[in-house]
Symmetry: C2
Subunit: 92 residues, 2 copies
Amino acid sequence: MSIMYILKIEFFGYFAAFLTTVAFIPQLIKTLKTKKAEDVSLVTLIMFICGVGFWIIYGYKISSSPILIANIVTLTLNLFILITKLYYSKNT
Amino acid sequence: MSIMYILKIEFFGYFAAFLTTVAFIPQLIKTLKTKKAEDVSLVTLIMFICGVGFWIIYGYKISSSPILIANIVTLTLNLFILITKLYYSKNT
């Protein structure tokens, strides 16, 4: 395999990680704007956050910076979505 | 590194993949039950689905069955969430 081919493959991985990470920014903005996230499943959020936590442990154990960085950002965004969801559900 | 240690590390990866995949089942069930997903961000869903699509390409290119399988399930679940969201938003 040539270096160019490997780089091309790695691009898909980095682009995938970028998209599945920043994808949660619009959800956070929407929740903050509409001040509700009633339709967003609490169980999904909690399971997803736990899963991302395990990805962080895995990324740390195999010393993979992309897995570590992408999942720390995803965890942070989803924790904010969870907090805003809970905050607004209490206030209604 | 002993085989037991490697297996322990791999466990975190598989458990992480399992959680971040099945996490979307409660969201799908909730959307089907309440017949609405107004608060679920459409932009988040589309970006996430595209990202998962790139994970599938990446998993295929590096011949990683866990990445491939986990992301095909995640893609399917999120496509169903997207379709139900769009379906119910049209019917209200």
